[in-house]
């Protein structure tokens, strides 16, 4: 009996796998779409924008002349204030750097993980301005402190890649799963299968595993390309990559459940598409895909941190940016929340989704 079920499972798995790999649109959304994101953000570092600079009020002439020079560039939006206030603003990412005079000129830059490209840019601009000043105006000594608020210093790609992967696996899991089941239903393929002794368990399991294998292989390829061509560099190297793959697999299982919910609720492909978007787009925007949730207002942060995609992204970044191991407490909390979501999602899916096999 078990052998029979396994054979059915394997049959469905093979067919679903082949069908997905031969589907050009799935390949596009699961692979090329995120690749375009990676490509564009890998070169995002050099883009010119204005940076928010905090400067402490001071009477020291060399500081003043430097401050004036900074004011004359249009790269900076300058805020004056107490050092303490400014540092607080720095911490919540309202500022990119704080320039202060404390006997020597100090520049404090955060490497807030979502804005690492800002800190490097600010530093290079500050030192370039310093070089242009005449000798007597130039601050004699200056000291640059890079403060790491969360995480380490790094390139934007290191921050953004886990977010891109998170979004791509979630949208692929939801839309590809729901779309394929709804179209199997509407093309009467399910009805044909219902006329055989096929069981629903091996059917669902076979399709789920196929989805996971497809997504996992796309993500592996994306990670490989990111490391080789876009200088992606996770903190823990190869072990981090392996742990990321574990999180990706777990996330896929959870997000697949969302796909089953959408498949169960929608009657046809026209409904499955928008419904998938309703579930995935808000998460895409809120859950820290391209920028850190920390830079959002408090109330929005609270909402964002409830989303399963946030838990996924956060777990990925704790492992890849901060180099924490998978079994550490901080990662564990995120995985725990994701598991909780998984339970809720699958309870709902079991109510809403049935294949009547």
């Amino acid at each position: 009996m078990n052998r029979v079920l396994f054979r059915q499972f394997w049959g469905f798995f093979v067919v679903a796998l082949k069908s997905s790999f031969r589907n050009p649109s799935a390949l596009f959304f699961g692979f090329f779409f995120p690749l375009v994101f990676i490509f564009s953000f890998a070169f995002f570092d050099n883009s010119a924008t204005t940076y928010n600079l905090g400067i402490t009020t001071s009477d020291v002439p060399s500081h003043l002349s430097y401050t004036r020079a900074l004011e004359n560039t249009d790269v900076f939006t300058i805020t004056y204030g107490d050092k303490e206030d400014l540092l607080k603003k720095l911490e919540i990412s309202n500022l990119d750097a704080v320039v202060s005079y404390n006997g020597v000129l100090e520049v404090e830059v955060t490497t807030n993980r979502s804005k690492t490209q800002n800190s490097t840019a600010v530093l290079s601009i500050l030192s370039a301005i310093n070089d242009k000043l005449s000798l007597q105006d130039r601050p004699t000594i200056y000291n640059i402190q890079q403060k790491s608020l969360v995480g380490r210093s790094g390139k934007y790609i290191d921050f953004v890649l886990p977010g891109i992967l998170g979004f791509s696996i979630m949208s692929a899991a939801i839309s590809a799963t729901s779309f394929s089941f709804v179209s199997l239903k509407n093309s009467l393929t399910l009805k044909r299968l219902f006329a055989t002794p096929a069981k629903s368990m091996p059917f669902i399991a076979g399709h789920s595993l196929a989805r996971i294998v497809v997504s996992l292989s796309q993500n592996l390829l994306l990670l490989f390309l990111a490391v080789v061509f876009f200088d992606y560099n996770p903190q823990g190297g190869f072990t981090s990559l392996l742990q990321m793959l574990v999180i990706i697999t777990f996330g896929l299982v959870v997000f697949l459940g969302l796909g089953y919910i959408v498949a169960g609720v929608s009657k046809n492909e026209d409904q499955a598409g928008p419904l998938s978007n309703i579930i995935s787009l808000p998460q895409f925007l809120l859950a820290g895909t391209f920028f850190s949730v920390d830079s959002m207002p408090g109330w929005l942060q609270a909402i964002a941190k409830l989303l399963p995609l946030y838990n996924f992204n956060e777990a990925m970044r704790l492992v890849s940016l901060d180099g924490l191991p998978l079994w550490s407490g901080q990662v564990g909390i995120q995985i725990g929340f994701l598991s909780l979501w998984g339970i809720i999602i699958y309870l709902l899916a079991s109510k809403l989704f049935s294949v009547k096999l």
Binding site: G11, V15, R192, P197
Partner: protein, 325 residues
């Protein structure tokens, strides 16, 4: 098999057998119907059949068969349908129909669109739930043994889909996995003359090829019974005739075949016995010859003299009988 029918007919209604004999004399010119129907020689005037009488006929014949089964087990009908009903809200799609299908015969369910043909056979196939009634396949109640029933029947749905981007061989392999049987996909494709399309996907096939592939899928489990729901609807004459050959070959291989159609010529060419349905009711059930004979016995005359050929004959003469694919 034919003897059982005979017995049933004589047992149940004397009127029927008598009318048959009358017509047997009249319709000898129909050369195609040369089966063993017109033997009785009792002659009575033809009687107009009413619906109530017909239902009675069916009922009593079912009873006869059941009684027979007790001591002649090998003649047990392979499918027994008893008072089958399907209601959708207030609409009665199938209204208490009963019939038997005998082993090895081609049984046709004939009727206009919306008569309840598909609903009936999909209930027998356990694809859709029935409202009431009983169905036995190979002596087993389909409610009690749905899985076993699904293993011994092969089903061609009127409309069905297959996995996208999966070729014919791969699709047949999937069915083999589902039924847990070992098959040679190429052999199966050869039986429906599709071996040259093995690497195509079902959606790349023509209408006739799709129907034939659909039949190949039903053959994977080597079933006792095949259900073909409007197998030739939408096909050109060549493809229809080709499919008829396929179906006849399957009968020669010992399969029992239940098919629905709304083409009279198809029912006439293929079916041993025919059930005529309309509006959820079973109007008549008999051998093809007997049905025609009965009608002629009632004094029916074709309005115009029959030509030596039909337009279809002309069409096939001009375009040839080879398949167009």
């Amino acid at each position: 098999m034919a003897k059982v029918t005979k017995a049933k007919n004589t047992n149940s209604k004397e009127l029927k057998s008598s009318s048959k004999s009358v017509s047997g004399v009249e319709s000898k010119n129909t050369a195609k119907r040369n089966k063993k129907s017109s033997k009785d020689v009792a002659s009575k005037p033809p009687v107009k059949l009413k619906l109530s009488e017909k239902t009675e006929v069916t009922k009593s014949s079912a009873q006869t068969t059941t009684r027979k089964r007790a001591y002649v087990k090998k003649d047990r009908p392979i499918i027994q349908v008893k008072k089958l009903v399907k209601k959708y809200n207030n609409v009665t799609a199938v209204d208490s129909i009963s019939f038997d299908v005998k082993k090895g015969e081609i049984f046709g369910i004939l009727g206009p669109n919306g008569a309840g043909k598909t609903t009936t056979i999909e209930m027998i196939e356990t694809i859709i739930p029935k409202t009431s009634g009983q169905i036995f396949i190979d002596g087993l109640n389909v409610d009690t043994y749905p899985d076993h029933v699904k293993k011994i029947v092969g089903i061609q749905l009127q409309n069905s889909g297959f996995y996208p981007r999966i070729n014919l061989i791969e699709t047949l392999d999937l069915f083999a996995d589902i039924y847990d049987v070992d098959i040679s996909p190429m052999e199966l494709l050869k039986t429906v003359d599709l071996d040259h399309k093995a690497k195509n996907t079902p959606s790349q096939l023509s209408g006739g090829q799709q129907k034939r592939f659909s039949i190949a899928c039903t053959l994977v489990s080597n079933p006792l019974i095949l259900f073909l729901d409007e197998p030739t609807t939408g096909l050109d004459p060549q493809a229809r005739r080709n499919l008829w050959d396929t179906i006849t070959n399957l009968k020669h291989r010992g399969k029992t075949i239940v098919l629905t159609t709304h083409y009279m010529d198809e029912a006439e060419a293929l079916c041993d016995r025919i059930a005529i349905m309309d509006d959820g009711h079973l109007l008549e059930i008999n051998t093809t010859e007997a049905l025609v004979d009965n009608l002629l016995a009632k004094g029916f005359k074709r309005p115009e003299p029959k030509l030596g050929a039909t337009l279809e004959d002309v069409f096939l003469h001009l375009t040839g009988k080879q398949l167009r694919e």
